[in-house]
Amino acid sequence: MKENGHYIDKNETVIKIRDLYKSFGDKHVLQGIDLDVFKGENVVVLGRSGTGKSVLIKIIIGLLKPDAGTVNVLGEEVDQLRDADLRALRLKVGFSFQSSALYDSMTVGENLAFPLKRNNRSLTRDQIRKTIDVVLDAIGLPDTINQYPSELSGGQKKRIGIGRTLILRPEIMLYDEPTAGLDPITCMELNKLINAVKERFNTSSIIITHDLTCAKEVGDRVAVMDEGRFVRQGTFDEVFTEKEGLIKSFYDYNFIQ
């Protein structure tokens, strides 16, 4: 099993989801999701657009409430937490948005400083600057500190979005389509970054994607989602040995076309 030279602790679950349901009106999005993420593991969630992948990780971070089922993150039941405790948990979970969601009225430096300052009011200007430099170095964009998001390319925005969550030193990273809409070379760079983040910051992650190259590069385990359920789980090779139905369509699209 590919573990990116890293030890996965199968005895320690950082995210444990059981029998999760979520509907919007009469639109049933999640219909019985079970998922475990182990410490040090990168789990890739594959699925077509609109199957509820984003909804799933928004429930994990408490942006949406589940209708039924349990979501346990780092030992806490997310939907039962009071505001203060939820906030404490969110410090340990990084969330990288599909749209990057950078604060467009702020420079890159201010984007990174914003969560840091607000969650640690005793930091000095120097300490903040140093932390920002470390993160910008880790995401490979040291020269963008004074630029505004509108001046950045799509790939750079994604990196800064990842950097903005790394600055709080999360134990878990949730990536929503980190490579969507990017050219193949930038995709590869982001895959490398996701693996580097795991090494350097010791994170466990869920990576949502519909890009098989990404899944293969960064995933220790792949879970395929269809119509609100996981239909297949395993290593990349396990999932894609038998190519039929949805799996085949995915595979053909990504590797043959």
């Binding site: 009106g25 942006l63 948005f97 604060y103």
Partner: protein, 264 residues
């Protein structure tokens, strides 16, 4: 906690009437949340000061120009009538009463509703639809306190200041007009003007301005905070902020005037 809208199941009366009451209830919850969060530390001073600057700075030029013109025009228009009765000496106090009691609060409020209300609606709306508000939420920041409390408070505090400034400029405009016709000193004019204004007039004006500021702040923040459907929603949030604020301001005006006149 979450800022995401979820659909209701079945209408109780009709979808439209239900929607009206749901919106009403939502706004009440929004206001309650404002008061709950506003008095809890830590205060976002930096953002609050920035918003005060935005409110003041964005409207200052317009408030100055309209205030001045109101003063001049009101004086011009009143002079013929007053001179018919030979009481042009009443001009200063007439203008002052009109400006403080009625014109300044309304003018300042309408300008802020148009200028600041739309920009708050659009700014928060675009932050909402581009997930910037969710991004604050997930980095353990309370976006309501950072974005809403600061803006509503800034509006509530700055509008009274703009209103008094507008009244002062209005009187200045009137003075220029009066001065052009008869030799009056500035001091004599202002003595005369404010002699008729009572403590109750100031209280009424202040109450109005505070209420209007709060209304504009809450309405435009609510619209932005609940914006949906991408860029279309942003335009709608800005637009609806202005219309609803102005509408409510006129309704509040009527109510306040009645209440204070019954005291008088």
């Amino acid at each position: 906690m979450s800022s995401t809208n979820e659909k209701q199941d079945k209408p109780v009366i009709t979808a439209k009437i239900d929607g009206f009451f749901i919106t009403f209830y939502d706004i009440a919850v929004f206001i309650a949340r404002f008061f709950r969060e506003a008095f809890r530390p830590p205060v976002e001073w930096g953002e609050f000061v920035r918003q005060c600057y935005q409110v003041g700075y964005k409207s200052l030029a317009l408030v100055t120009v309209t205030g001045f013109i109101t003063g001049v025009v009101f004086t011009e228009q009143s002079r013929p009538t007053l001179s018919e009765f030979g009481v042009t000496a009443w001009l200063p106090s007439l203008v002052a009463i009109a400006v403080v009691r009625a014109l300044a609060p309304l003018i300042a409020a309408l300008i802020c509703a148009g200028k600041v209300g739309s920009s708050i609606g659009a700014e928060l709306g675009s932050m909402k639809v581009t997930e910037q508000i969710d991004a604050m939420e997930v980095s353990a920041i309370n976006p309501f306190r950072y974005l809403i409390v600061t803006r509503v408070t800034a509006m509530t505090i700055c509008l009274p200041l703009l209103m008094f400034y507008n009244a002062l400029i209005g009187c200045m405009g009137s003075y220029f007009d009066v001065h052009a016709h008869e030799q009056t000193s500035l001091i004599a004019f202002f003595d005369n003007a404010f002699a008729q204004i009572t403590f109750l007039d100031y209280t009424t004006a202040l109450t109005k301005a505070i209420l209007y500021g709060f209304t504009i702040g809450i309405v435009s923040c609510y619209q932005g905070w609940n914006a949906t459907q991408g860029t279309m929603g942003v335009g709608k949030a800005a637009n609806v902020s202005v219309i609803v604020s102005m509408f409510l301001i006129f309704i509040e005006e009527v109510i306040i005037v009645h209440v204070f006149n019954s005291i008088r």
